[in-house]
């Protein structure tokens, strides 16, 4: 199913009425996984973008110009990501692109945007090597490489841990890369590892590994797993009488842990760019608006998309449209790196990274992670 939506909702209609008569629409392309397995991330991402664009248009748009979102389903697949990027860039002639949802797809499709000299702005791509594709590639998603050391540090300060055991899924690129980042962070913090255990997808019992961990007598268990395996690991650990804190990667940063590990979900430490518990007024406003617009609670993906739209709109405000697409796209690229924002995910700015050829490339996020601990089915912020 192709989902194409030009947003002409009632909200935007109001914006149109109050807007400048000569106003032109600014076309923004969004490539998100709206069907398939990655739709669980792509759907909140779309809602975050729609909410922000609606708010901006109601307040008169960008210098009187409405934002028009052109949303395409890239299905969380590489090939579809490339197709959608080409369509948005060459056919719809968008000013810039948001997406795609998965890092895997971004690896394949972002070079298309780079070659066409069109800004691509990722809100959920956390893998290494995305922004090194080129200087038109931006993201506000904070990588595991940035988050895990802070998570470990805060957890160590709070629990006084001296040595840890590590367990990770070694048949999944995401959990394996999480393990690599944990390993580096543990080395940097000089925390000794008592034992390192692995598991595979579809394992029934994690007790043999957990029994080894129990025997190695650590102060905490570092866990790089997706919640599908991570939750049963926590349950089985508690069954074996292991009451130690768990320190999880991004895969464990999901409210689903409260459901899947119900009764055993306490004392899990995770880092996140966004928290529903964050008391900042910008965040409170975002949560209330999202709840009103969509009827559900937002998640990290919605929050990052919402902030990204505001960051881009702010950059669009600073450029003078010439009517020539190539020139305008370039002007936007030049304006974006200087943008700073304080939104739902807290204070934000860009940092240029060095590409594979040693030259300056795209832009990563500079943002402080929020470290949380689970307690009685809630996240409690610890930093």
């Amino acid at each position: 199913m192709k989902l194409k939506q030009s947003i002409l909702s009632a909200i935007l209609g109001i914006g149109f009425l109050y807007g400048n008569v000569d106003a032109a629409d600014i076309k923004i392309g969004i490539a998100a996984a709206l069907t398939g397995n990655a739709a669980q991330y792509g759907l909140p991402i779309r809602k975050g973008f729609e909410l922000a664009a609606g708010e901006i248009n109601v307040r008169g748009g960008v210098n009187g110009n409405r934002l028009e979102l052109i949303i395409e389903d890239e299905q969380g697949r590489k090939e579809e990501g490339i197709n959608v990027f080409k369509k948005l860039i060459f056919q719809n002639k968008v000013m810039m692109l948001f997406g795609p949802t998965l890092s895997n797809s971004a690896q394949a499709s972002d070079p298309v945007a780079q070659a066409a000299k069109t800004v691509v702005f990722g809100t959920s791509n956390t893998a290494d090597g995305i922004t090194s594709i080129g200087d038109y590639v931006f993201r506000n998603s904070v990588t595991e490489r940035d988050i895990l050391p802070i998570t470990l540090k805060i957890a160590a300060q709070n629990t006084g841990l001296k040595k840890v055991a590590v367990i990770y899924g070694n048949d999944d690129i995401f959990t394996k890369s999480g393990y690599d980042n944990f390993k580096k962070a543990l080395r940097d913090l000089k925390i000794p590892v008592a034992t390192t255990e692995t598991f595979a997808k579809g394992d029934v019992s994690f007790k043999p590994q957990l029994t080894n961990i129990r025997a190695s007598n650590p102060d905490a268990v570092v866990l790089s797993a997706l919640v599908a395996e991570g939750a049963p690991i926590m349950v089985q650990a508690r069954q074996l009488g292991i009451t130690l804190p768990f320190i999880g990667g991004n895969g464990m940063n999901s409210p689903r842990v409260f459901e899947l590990a119900k009764g055993s979900s306490d004392n899990l430490w995770v880092g996140s760019p966004w928290s529903v518990e964050s008391p900042a007024p910008e965040n409170k406003r975002f949560i209330a608006a999202y709840l009103k617009a969509h009827g559900t609670m937002p998640d990290q993906f919605a929050a990052q998309a919402y902030d990204a739209m505001y960051i881009a709109a702010q950059a669009l405000k600073t450029i003078k449209p010439t009517g020539k697409l190539e020139a305008d796209r370039k002007a936007l690229r030049d304006a974006l790196p200087a943008m700073q924002w304080n939104g739902a995910t807290g204070p934000f700015k860009f940092r240029q990274i060095v590409g594979r050829n040693g030259k300056p490339a795209g832009y990563d996020a500079v943002q402080t992670a929020i470290v949380m601990m689970t307690q009685a089915n809630r996240y409690v912020i610890k930093n």
Partner: protein, 293 residues
């Protein structure tokens, strides 16, 4: 630690054995490698889950519901797939390929209907008690799975040895044509076997879903791979072999994690399995194929 690993191995072995029972029965009597057994296993788990969540049935009633549904699935499986293929004297591979198709259909339907994400039984419905003895811990559920694997094996073996139907089934396994000549209702028995094997798979699905706390469309796939290994190790079609093979794999996996390291687990476990098959090509209980001529 050794004692705990021993318990871990018994409980994991029980899980594998329970899954392999129905799988080996289908092969023993129908001569079919049923690659949809993992999907039926998954169907059992979803049936019980829906019974608990939607109908608010207690766990035992939910297991009965899963038995009824997977039993019916077994009946349909034979009626719609195996029987027509038998009637046409299809070659051996045809029913196996058909079960691959069936597995894909079942997995995709369940995914379309319930979504791809993990579901779980509500905590209230789960037996959560843990027995603890001097640092060794086992949950009631694990104990029940192990006991059930033994009890079901006992019942199956007794039925096959002592009852009229069992004798008929054994005759059938030997030679369907001879059995038919002796006045045995061959078609009826084939159907019965399919029902029995499927509901065993269904029960295994519920119990193992309770154990792992994870119900998802592809949950049967890794079990199927291990189940095939277990059944080949035990001797294709042999009930005792399924049980012994299950425990062998459980022990091999757990003790390779304990003494070699978890990254080497599958290499050690399946290496051992391979070594045994080199020594006994027909599996632990397999009879040499002497009746080919």
């Amino acid at each position: 630690m050794l004692a705990q690993q021993f318990i871990n191995a018994i409980s994991l072995g029980g899980v594998y054995a329970l899954f392999a029972l129905g799988f080996t029965l289908t092969f023993g009597v129908l001569g079919i490698v049923n690659l949809a057994h993992g999907a039926v296993f998954m169907l059992g788990a979803y049936s019980a889950l829906q019974a608990v969540i939607l109908l608010r049935l207690p766990l035992t009633a939910a297991i009965l519901a899963a038995i009824v549904i997977t039993g019916a699935a077994g009946w349909l499986l034979d009626k719609l797939i195996f029987a027509p293929l038998r009637a046409r004297d299809a070659p051996h591979l045809a029913p196996m390929i058909a079960t691959i198709g069936l597995a894909i259909c079942l997995n995709s339907s369940v995914e379309g209907f319930f979504g791809a994400q993990n579901l779980r039984f509500p905590v209230e419905a789960l037996p959560t008690e843990t027995l603890s003895l001097g640092g060794i811990r086992i949950t009631w559920l694990e104990l029940q799975i192990v006991l059930l694997a033994f009890v079901l094996m006992g019942i199956l073996m007794w039925c096959l040895k002592q009852t009229r139907i069992g004798r008929a089934l054994r005759g059938l396994a030997e030679s369907p044509k001879a059995a038919a000549l002796l006045g045995i209702d061959v078609e009826g028995l084939f159907r019965l076997t399919s029902v029995l094997a499927s509901l065993l798979g269904g029960v295994a699905g519920v119990l193992i879903a309770l154990y792992t706390n994870a119900v998802f469309p592809l949950m049967g796939q890794p079990m199927l791979h291990k189940g095939i290994a277990v059944v080949i190790l035990g001797g294709m079609g042999d009930i005792r072999g399924a049980l012994l093979g299950g425990f062998f794999l459980g022990f091999a996996e757990v003790f390779s994690v304990a003494y070699v390291g978890s990254t080497m687990r599958d290499a050690v476990a399946f290496g051992l399995l391979f070594a045994i098959l080199l020594l006994r090509p027909d599996g632990l209980f397999g009879k040499a194929a002497q009746r080919r001529a």
